[in-house]
């Protein structure tokens, strides 16, 4: 890995939503930080010049939910393989949910994940601490200690909290430290043993369904508790249009609630599980076309402030079984930017909004000092060619997980270079002139 050095990125279209910049302007990097925008200061001698003519230069992407599988499930993926995949996809900050094995419910585990990623050096991994000890849903975790060890939020991931009183206490305790609680809203009784959206496709295929109400019932309960406690809730992975409407209303009432959506939910629907494609087995399930349209409306209007990958790499065996018995999830780091750019190409959002949803949006929700290109901030930069067509193939993927329904999809827009803390961590061979 190269040492931090003076780098000049020139002629690129620089888009930094955090500072409302969208113009062709040069960017200077020194000592791992953004040192200047625009005219090169006298005395700045670049060791490396990257010609980004025709390319977009934006902050390194911030992904609010990526399973990296280490420690505990190294047969699926490792920090090295997944942060490498992130770097090649323009992602420089990854929030890692606490359902590793062991669970991230102690400062030691939080530090371990963070430091190991630091040593590898492809991307920053920020641990999300367990909301309850061992994610058991009963005993609160030691939030103060976990925050000190680098946790950026708390979550019980997909595991249920014992009851609403525990949820109330967890939210209250988190407010003590002004910490965000990430909730994946789902009523487990309504979700039952479902594996597909309860609707016409699941009815025809005979797949046990998860009704939309499994999400909305939970959102309603969580919003009521946000109101009661003043706790800051971030909803992860919304899947229903009705939940977007509820959230819009809550935000209108100035409740401190935010939300993200997984990129695949903005493109796929229940129709895609036709033929029992296990790569489309995700949780929450792919829902109806009208849900997808309302989620798209949510990212356009700002109710949903971030798009995440919800990356879940699996070994081939985990998907090689009949649909209901397969592990849910998509290996999604490498399609996060491409699927978001597709929304631009389909006229859903404009390019600066797309980049905001992947950078400043997620960073602000967790109050992270990343996802921006202001002077003095960490030199995390994503450079991509917005015109370049390419096809996703298994050989092309760097993630250890090849479980994606997007194989064979044609995308437009490809990352050509990624800088993390002022170092080039990914660079496509055919990158423009360097001198």
């Amino acid at each position: 890995m190269s040492q931090p050095q003076n780098i000049l990125i020139r002629n690129g279209r620089l888009i930094d939503p955090a500072s409302h910049i969208d113009e062709t302007v040069d960017l200077q990097i020194a000592a791992g930080k953004i040192s200047g925008l625009g005219r090169m200061p006298a005395g700045f001698r670049p060791d490396l010049t990257i010609d980004a003519d025709g390319q977009v230069v934006c902050p390194g992407l911030v992904d609010l939910s990526a399973r990296l599988r280490e420690p505990g499930q190294e047969h699926k993926a490792t920090l090295e393989s997944e942060t490498g995949a992130a770097a090649s996809s323009g992602i420089t900050t990854l929030c890692c949910p606490p359902d590793t094995n062991p669970v991230i419910d102690t400062p030691a585990m939080a530090s371990l994940v963070r430091r190991r990623a630091q040593r590898i050096g492809y991307a920053r991994v920020l641990p999300v601490g367990a909301l309850t000890q061992e994610l058991g849903g009963e005993q609160l975790s030691e939030m103060a200690a976990l925050l000190k060890a680098g946790c950026v939020a708390f979550s019980n991931v997909e595991r249920p909290l014992g009851n609403t009183l525990i949820e109330r206490r967890a939210l209250e305790y988190a407010t003590t430290f002004d910490a965000t609680v990430i909730l994946r809203p789902e009523d487990r009784h309504l979700a039952d043993k479902g594996c597909a959206h309860e609707g016409p496709v699941a009815s025809r295929l005979g797949l046990p369904g998860i009704p939309a109400a499994a999400e909305t019932v939970a959102v309603a309960r969580d919003l009521a508790l946000a109101q009661q406690t003043g706790g800051r809730i971030h909803f992860h992975g919304l899947s229903t249009g009705a939940a977007v409407a509820m959230l819009a209303q809550a935000q209108g009432e100035r409740l401190p609630v935010t939300a993200d959506v997984a990129a695949h939910q903005l493109h796929l629907t229940e129709m895609d599980i036709e033929g029992f494609d296990s790569n489309c087995h995700v949780h929450p399930p792919l829902r109806s076309l009208s849900d997808r349209e309302r989620l798209r409306e949510g990212v356009r209007g700002g109710v949903i402030g971030a798009i995440c990958s919800d990356h879940q790499p699996h070994e081939a065996d985990a998907k090689a079984a009949p649909f209901p018995s397969t592990a849910p999830g998509i290996s999604a780091l490498e399609t996060l930017l491409p699927l978001t750019l597709k929304l631009v190409q389909e006229g859903v959002i404009d390019l600066p909004r797309a980049i905001a949803l992947l950078t400043s949006g997620p960073a602000e929700m967790l109050q992270l000092p990343y996802g921006r290109l202001s002077v003095g901030s960490s030199a995390d930069v994503c450079i991509f060619d917005p015109e370049r067509p390419w096809e996703l193939t298994p050989e092309r993927m760097r993630s250890a997980g090849r479980n994606t329904p997007f194989l064979g999809w044609e995308f437009i827009g490809r990352v050509t270079c990624t800088l993390f803390e002022g170092r080039v961590v990914f660079e496509e061979e055919v990158l423009g002139t360097r001198y």
């Binding site: 009815s203 797949l207 036709e274 079984a321 009949p322 018995s325």
Partner: protein
């Protein structure tokens, strides 16, 4: 969104029989006609035809079933095939061998056809997608998804009694939600041109947006069976009483049990069917089950002819050599 139908071979003939979904009316009619030609075989002194001599058919059952497995076995033997029976309870696979491992092991024994029953919807599709290209797969029931040979034997029974499907009104009564049989029957009835397919059940036993399956839904049995030509009763599994789906067997029978009196609302020549095994006094009164309108036992004997038809058609091209 159209995907190629993996059930059809290169020449458009039957390769796998996984679901009725995607099959044409003429192919279903072919199956019924072929089955018709096999009905005589059972009445001969030598109950065998040499169509599948030298073929190995493996009954791969991951879910207990004596009845269905036996009819497949009898059908295969009447076609002169060699039969392997494997009952793999889910606990055995829990020991670590994956479905794919099991499949690979059996393929090494040069099996020509798998007859599969599994608790997961989509299991037969999965096996068809992963099996060796020369192997055919017949779905003998996967989760709540499909049980196409059962549906075809029901179609056979209906055709025997009613002739044409056009003009018929058919009511399916009971636990449609959990029934793979009902899903396949609905598809088959609609493909064959049935005028009206009705489902009759309390809301808890109907799938979400049930109308999209191509049926009219009724919650009242008397209303639902008025003027129908065919009544298909579904089995209600006892364990459904334990959840919050139904309050009691008593109330279910009161509302949805088929009695002589209620049968009076249907057409005078209406037939009563049931895929078995029947729960007397839960979904159907004994008087009806054993009465003159009941064709339940015929269904069982037609089942063999229909399965012979499907097996011989799926192994068709290879089988022609055996005939010559």
């Amino acid at each position: 969104m159209s995907r190629p139908n993996i059930q059809l071979g290169r020449e458009g003939g039957l390769k796998h029989f996984l679901t009725i979904d995607g099959f044409s009316r003429s192919l279903l009619t072919d199956i019924l006609d072929t089955a018709e030609s096999f009905t005589g075989v059972s009445e001969r002194t030598v109950k065998k035809v040499p169509l599948l001599r030298g073929k190995v058919i493996c009954n791969l059952f991951f879910e207990n079933s004596t009845r269905t497995r036996t009819t497949f076995e009898v059908a295969a033997k009447r076609l002169s095939a060699d039969v392997l029976n494997l009952n793999i309870s889910t606990s055995a696979t829990a020991k670590g061998e994956s479905l794919l491992d099991t499949l690979r092991n059996l393929e090494a024994m040069h099996v020509d056809m798998f007859v599969v029953r599994h608790t997961d919807s989509g299991a037969a599709h999965f096996i068809a997608q992963h099996a060796d290209p020369h192997v055919s797969v017949i779905n003998a029931g996967d989760g709540r998804h499909a049980h196409p040979t059962q549906a075809m034997l029901d179609m056979f029974t209906i055709r025997r009694h009613k002739g044409e499907f056009t003009g018929l009104r058919v009511a399916i009564v009971g636990d449609v939600l959990h029934s793979r049989v009902a899903r396949s029957q609905i598809l088959a009835l609609n493909t064959l041109g049935t005028s009206e397919v009705r489902v009759i059940a309390p809301r808890t036993l109907l799938p979400a947006e049930v109308r999209t399956l191509g049926v009219h839904a009724f919650h009242d049995l008397e209303q639902g069976i008025r003027d129908v030509d065919v009544i298909i009763m579904l089995r209600l599994q006892k364990e459904r009483m334990r959840g919050a789906l139904l309050p009691s067997e008593h109330e279910y029978f009161q509302l949805y049990g088929l009695t002589e009196e209620r049968l009076g609302g249907a057409k005078a020549d209406a037939i009563v069917m049931h895929p078995g095994p029947i729960n007397r006094g839960v979904e159907i009164d004994s008087q009806v089950a054993d009465g003159p309108r009941s064709v339940i036992l015929q269904q069982v004997s037609f089942g063999i002819a229909v399965r012979m038809a499907v097996m011989s058609m799926a192994l068709g091209n290879q089988a022609q050599g055996a005939v010559r």
